[in-house]
Symmetry: C4
Subunit: 253 residues, 4 copies
Amino acid sequence: MDRLTSWERRTSVALLAIGVVFLLSWAIPVLVPNLPTAADTALWYLQVITWALFTADYLIRVTLAPRRLRFLVRNIPSLLVVLLPLLRPLWLLRALLLLHVIADRIRLPLRLRAVVYVSGTALFLCMVGSIAVLDVERDNGNIKTIGDAIWWSLTTMTTVGYGDRFPITAEGRLVASGLMIAGIALAGVVTAAIASWFVERFERTAALDRRTEAGLAQVAAELTETRKALADLAHTHNMLRDELATLTARLNS
Amino acid sequence: MDRLTSWERRTSVALLAIGVVFLLSWAIPVLVPNLPTAADTALWYLQVITWALFTADYLIRVTLAPRRLRFLVRNIPSLLVVLLPLLRPLWLLRALLLLHVIADRIRLPLRLRAVVYVSGTALFLCMVGSIAVLDVERDNGNIKTIGDAIWWSLTTMTTVGYGDRFPITAEGRLVASGLMIAGIALAGVVTAAIASWFVERFERTAALDRRTEAGLAQVAAELTETRKALADLAHTHNMLRDELATLTARLNS
Amino acid sequence: MDRLTSWERRTSVALLAIGVVFLLSWAIPVLVPNLPTAADTALWYLQVITWALFTADYLIRVTLAPRRLRFLVRNIPSLLVVLLPLLRPLWLLRALLLLHVIADRIRLPLRLRAVVYVSGTALFLCMVGSIAVLDVERDNGNIKTIGDAIWWSLTTMTTVGYGDRFPITAEGRLVASGLMIAGIALAGVVTAAIASWFVERFERTAALDRRTEAGLAQVAAELTETRKALADLAHTHNMLRDELATLTARLNS
Amino acid sequence: MDRLTSWERRTSVALLAIGVVFLLSWAIPVLVPNLPTAADTALWYLQVITWALFTADYLIRVTLAPRRLRFLVRNIPSLLVVLLPLLRPLWLLRALLLLHVIADRIRLPLRLRAVVYVSGTALFLCMVGSIAVLDVERDNGNIKTIGDAIWWSLTTMTTVGYGDRFPITAEGRLVASGLMIAGIALAGVVTAAIASWFVERFERTAALDRRTEAGLAQVAAELTETRKALADLAHTHNMLRDELATLTARLNS
C-alpha cells in the first residue's frame, strides 16, 4: 500500500465529516432564505474553510501520488470540484466513495450492494440537485420552494418531465443535465440488476449446454472401454497363471 | 414452521378479503362524490373497522414473532401502513403477497410468473394511484375526474409525462413519486425478462466456451494414450505367454 | 398438423391482402377529409366487407379448432378485434404474425429478426396509432393534421411526451395507452437484444468458470497417475520377463 | 483485402478532415447569425466543395465495389446523405466509423469501448442535433438560441421532454425523431453494458451448474475404480511373480 492510499484511508472519515459540514453550510442559506446576517456570514466562512480543507487535501494527494501525471488525469473530476463552485456538493460523493473502501470489508452480496448504492446515490443526487436548482432558479424561474425543487428533481430523474416546473437559467439546466443522465444510469443499474438475477436463475435451472454433456458422455464411454480392456488383460493374466500352475505341477511330478 | 408463519398462512385469505373491503370502503366515496350521508358514514365506519383489524393483525404478528426486534426492523413498511393513512391501500399489496405463498405451489414458469406479477402490480398501482390522486387533487388541482386520474397515472408510470395533468398538492406528488419509481422498476423487470430470454436462447445455440471443449479434448486425448499403453502391455503379455508356451514345450520334450 | 393450422396457413396470404384493403379503406377517409361522398360510401362498404370476411375467418377457425374452449380462451384478442371497431386495425398485425410462420423458414439470425420485428412493429403501430388518434381527436383536440398525429405518436412511443400535443378524448387516450406500453416493450426488446449480445461476447472471451477448469485439471491429474500406475505395471512385467528368460536359460543349460 | 477496403482505409483520415471542415462551414452560419456576407458566401462555397468531395468519394466507392448491387443496398444511408441536405452532418459519423477501423488496433476492453462510443456518439448527436434544430426552428419556433437548442436536445435524448421547448417545423421534428431514437438506443447500450457486467460478475462467483459437476464427479469416480482395477491386477502380478520365484527355486534345488 503506497502513501497515497494510506493517506486516503486515514482521512476518509474526516473528509466525510467536512463534507457534511460543507453541505450544511451550503444548504442552510438556500433552504432558509431569511437567515439573520450573522448566521449567514458564519455559514459563508464555514463554506470557505471547508473548501480550503478540500483543496489542501487535493494538493496533498497530488504530492503523495507515486505517478503524478496519471493521478492528475484520473482525478480531473476532483480538480473540477475544487475549481468550480457549482460542482462542490459532489465532494460529499467522493467522501462517500472513500467510505465504500471501508464498507467493502462488510461483504454484502453484490446485488444488494448495488441496490443500496443506487438508492443512496439517487436520494443524495435528488437532495443536492433540489437545493442547487432552488439556489439558482428561485429569483427568475418557476421553481420557488424546496417542495417544487424536490418534485422537479424527481420528475427529471425518472425522465417523466411533466413540464410544470423546469429550469430556465444556464446553471439550472446544467444541474438538470446531471440529474437526467444520473437518472438514466441509475434506472439502467436497476434494470441490469434484475436482468442478471433473472439470467442467473434461469442458468441454474436450464443447466449446461448439450455439447458439454456430450463431451462428458464421450469421456465416460472411453473410460468404460478402458476398463473393459483392463478386464481382458486380467483374463489373459489368469490364463497365464493357470498355465504356470500346470507347469509347476508337471515339474513337481 | 414457527407460529408466526403458521398464523400468516392461516390468515392470508381473510386478510385479502378485509383488504378488498377496505379498498372498496376507501374507493367508493372518492369515485362517487355525491353519496348519501348514511352510506358515506357506513363506509367510513367500515374503513375504521378494517384498519383496526389490520392493526390487530400487526400486533398479533409482533407478539408471535420469534425474534421481535428483527421482525420490527423487517416490517417497517407494515408499521408505516398502520400509522400513515395515505399508505393504507398498500395493505392489499401485502395481502396479495401472502396469497403468493399459496400460489407458489402451482409452479408457473418463472418468466410467465414475472409477466403476471408485473401486469398485476401495474394494474393495481395504476388503479390505487388514480383513486388516491383523485382524492387529494380534485378540489385544487387539474385532475378532476377518474378518467383524468387514470390517464395521468398511465402517463406517469410509463414516464411519458405530457404535463397536461399533474398533481400540485404534496400528497398528490407523493403518490406520483411512488408511481414513477414503480413504473421504472416495472419497465426494468419487463426489459430484464426479455433480456434473460434472449441470453438463454443464445446460450443454448452458441454453446459452451472453447476452453471447456479444449479441456475435454485434452482429457479425451490423454485417455486415448492410456488405452495405447494398455494395448502395448497386452502385446508384451502375449509375447510372455508365447515364451512360456515354448518353455512348457521344451520341458515336455 | 391439424385442420386449424392447415386452414391458417392456407389463408394467411389472403388474410394479409384483406388486412391491407381494410387498412386502406379505414385510413383513406381519415387522411383525406374532403372525400367525395361516393368514394366515402364505397370505402365504407369495403370496410364492412373486410370486417365480414374477418368475422367469417374467426368463426371458421372456431369450428375447426380441435379443443374449442381452449381456442376461445387463447383467442380472446381475436374476439375483441371482431367486436370492437377501435381495435380492428390490429387485424393486420395478426395477418403479419401469420406471415411470420412462413418467414420462419428463411432462418434469419434471432437477433436480426428481433431488430426487423421491432422496427416493423414500431413503424406499423406508429402509423396505425397516428391515423386512429387523428380520427378521434381531429374535431375536439389539439391533434389536427396527420403530421401532428405522427409527431405525437413518436413522442409518445419514445416516452418523451413534450405535451405540445396530447389526446383529450377517451378513445384517443386508449390509443395513447397502447402506444406507451408498446413503446416501453419495444425499447425493452432493443435493450435486451444489446444486453444479450454483450453477454455473449463477454462469455466467449471470459470463458468458463474456474471450478470447471479445476474439475478438468483434477481429471487430467488423475489420468496422469493412472498412466504412471500402468508404467509401473509394465516395469514389473519386464522384470518378470527377465526372470522367465533366466529360467529358460537355466533349463537349456 | 479488396480495392474498396483499401481505398476506404487510405481515405479515412482525409474524409474525417473534410467532415470537420463541412461541419464547421455548416455550423458557423447557424451559430453566428449576423455574419458578414463575404464570410457567409465563402462558407457556402466550402460547403458545396466538401459535398462534391463526399459525392466523388461515394461514386469512387461504387466503382471499386466488387459486388456493385450489394454495395448499393448496404450503403443506402450513404446515398441518402449524398442526396438529402438535412442528413449531411451525418457524413462525419461515417468518417468517425472509418477511424474506428484504425482504432480497433488499440485493443480497448469491449465494455470501455462501448462507454467511449456511447458518450462520443451522444455528444456528437446532441451537438449536431442542436445546430440542426436551431437552423430550422429559429425563425418560427420557440428554440431561438443555441443554449435553448442544446437544452432541448438533452431533454429529448434523455426522453425527459419537459415541453418548454419543442420543434414545430417538419424538419425540426425529423431531427427530434432521430435524437429520440438515438437516445433510447444509447440508454439501451448503457443498461446492456451494466447488465452484462453484472452477469459476468455473478457467473464467475456463482460458478458452474450442478449437472457438470455431477458429470465430472462421475468421471472422477470411474477413474478411481479404474485405478482400483489396476491395483488388483498388480496384486495378481505379484502373486504370479512369487510363484515363478518358487518355481525357479525348485528348479535350482
